[in-house]
């Protein structure tokens, strides 16, 4: 969180949690998928489910998935924009269990067949937290360039990833490790103070034991 989460964002109303936060969740998912969304199943939980329609939460999530930001004047008409872009959208009412009341699960398929399953919550004031990616626990805000590495749970992998970042002089602001069980697949989330160059991401992907690498770049979001 920074000062401009408190005074800001500049956004299309009516709700920072139900509209702007929803745009950001969609936008972060759009960046992580890294290809245009072909099909989106949007599963609304709690207050998103109960009061989402009146707040434009549905249109806001779709706007984000289309790559719009919180101040985009097209947000009220995003469902039409999606239709014109050939994006198929379905909404579902779900119960996600013990999560923040403003939460959504997104099941996305990209135009090249890439899949992403993401659960995120809107915390208020437009701030969000991604809590699950492809079935594994996560916990990041999307406010920093974020590297998400899906890897085999074995010794040495963390070292290889952090060494790559150190080689580029990229400082790590926060780091988290999760695994489903010992020796199986694991996920590593690194929130960084600087951007990670594309070559390094490619190199990480080719390392043995690394199953997938997703990267949230904030370059696009700078005004």
């Amino acid at each position: 969180m920074n000062l401009f989460d408190i005074i800001g964002p500049v956004m299309v109303g009516p709700s920072s949690s139900h509209t702007a936060g929803a745009v950001r969740i969609g936008y972060v998912a759009h960046l992580l998928l890294a290809e245009p969304v072909k099909k989106a199943d949007i599963c609304l939980h709690g207050s998103f489910r109960a009061t989402g329609k009146g707040h434009g939460t549905d249109r806001a999530l779709v706007a984000g998935l289309l790559g719009m930001q919180t101040d985009d004047g097209r947000i009220p008409n995003s469902l039409q924009v999606a239709e014109e872009a050939g994006m198929e959208v379905d909404f579902w009412a779900v119960e996600l269990g013990d999560v923040h009341p403003n939460s959504v699960k997104l099941l996305l398929v990209g135009v090249n067949g890439k899949r992403l399953e993401l659960t995120a919550s809107s915390l208020g004031g437009g701030r969000i937290r991604v809590c699950e990616i492809n079935g594994l626990t996560a916990n990041f805000s999307g406010e920093y360039p974020t590297l998400i590495v899906n890897n085999q749970d074995r010794p040495g992998i963390v070292n290889e990833v952090t060494a790559t970042l150190a080689g580029e002089n990229v400082n790590i602001a926060a780091m988290q490790l999760y695994r489903s069980k010992r020796g199986s697949s694991a996920v590593m989330i690194l929130e960084c103070d600087g951007e990670i160059p594309q070559e390094d991401l490619q190199q990480l992907k080719s390392l043995p034991g690394i199953l997938d690498v997703a990267y949230l770049s904030l370059k696009e979001t700078e005004e």
Partner: protein, 294 residues
């Protein structure tokens, strides 16, 4: 943010003999690794966007539900008759708060401060102050840093979302932020800023988030008025030398504990309070029927 208590900011300001806002901008520079010019330009942009949203209010617009709209214009017209009991300053604060709240409900572009539901409080107080006291933009932007610093500490120690803390967390926080900023504009130092924020937040403790049909419309638009008016009162009291017997940080902690113990029916679920009144339910039923027909 490097600060968890308003007292820390005030102590640093005293110790280094710098204004309150200076401590907050310095924290932003180290937190986001930007230059002073970049940070100030961004805050200026926020202030410009507040002015723009105020200017671009559309008097004829109503929200999609039809529940809110046109009241900002009504208030403005009434003020022009000269009969308002509130007088020109407070009357203008009220009109601007209504306008911004309505623009937000009509899906127009606003600045969340700290949230969209409470976006009318700070602009209503600040823009009116600037119009009536002819203050330079620079000073107004400094006051926005004061407000933002107060909001950061509240978000850090408690919450700013109605869904987690009730309306006190949104309008209450916005009011405390605006009060601190106004105290600074009126010549207050760190003590007055903290007392103004504490008084404003105390006055709105316990305020529930009970939006009819779950929309940011009823009672949210008019709650922006009470948040802004309360901020002016809080700042005036603090400048008069009136102190909050409970220190600002402890008021924030109290807001947090009240928010935690508040039943979920009163935290933006649209289930309790005004939303559960016969009139409120009638609105909800009407809207549901409308959307089922689509």
């Amino acid at each position: 943010m490097g600060f968890h208590r308003l007292e820390e900011i005030a102590a640093k300001a005293k110790q280094e003999q710098k204004p309150f806002w200076e401590i907050i901008i310095e924290d932003d520079l180290s937190e986001r690794m930007v230059t002073r010019e970049e940070s100030f330009a961004k805050m200026r942009h926020m202030y410009e966007m507040m002015k723009k949203a105020d200017r671009e209010y559309e008097a004829e617009l109503t929200s999609a539900s039809g529940l809110v709209g046109k009241d900002g214009a009504r208030m403005q017209q009434y003020l022009e008759t000269g009969n308002s009991m509130s007088g020109s300053f407070m009357g203008q604060v009220m009109a601007k708060a209504l306008k911004m709240g309505e623009s937000n409900a009509c899906m127009k572009r606003i600045v969340a401060a700290p949230t969209a539901g409470s976006c009318g409080v700070i602009p209503a107080a600040f823009l009116t102050y600037q119009e009536q006291y002819q203050v330079a933009d620079e000073k107004m932007i400094q006051a926005l840093y004061v407000a933002a610093g107060i909001g950061m500490v509240i978000a850090e120690r408690a919450f700013i979302a109605g869904a987690t803390g009730g309306c006190q967390a949104e309008i209450g926080s916005a009011s405390a932020m605006a009060a601190g900023g106004l105290a600074y504009l009126s010549g207050g130092g760190e003590d007055e800023i903290l007392h103004a924020a504490a008084i404003a937040l105390k006055n709105l403790l316990g305020l529930v988030c009970d939006p009819v049909a779950g929309l940011v419309e009823v009672p949210c638009v008019k709650r922006n008025v009470i948040g802004a008016v309360n901020a002016v009162a809080g700042a005036d009291m603090a400048i008069a030398g009136i102190k909050s017997r409970i220190p600002a940080d402890e008021v924030i902690d109290a807001m947090r504990s009240v928010g935690i113990t508040m039943p979920s029916a009163l935290k933006e679920t649209g289930e309790g309070g005004l939303a559960a009144t016969p009139a409120g339910k009638k609105v909800t039923d009407g809207l549901n029927q409308g959307s089922n027909g689509k």
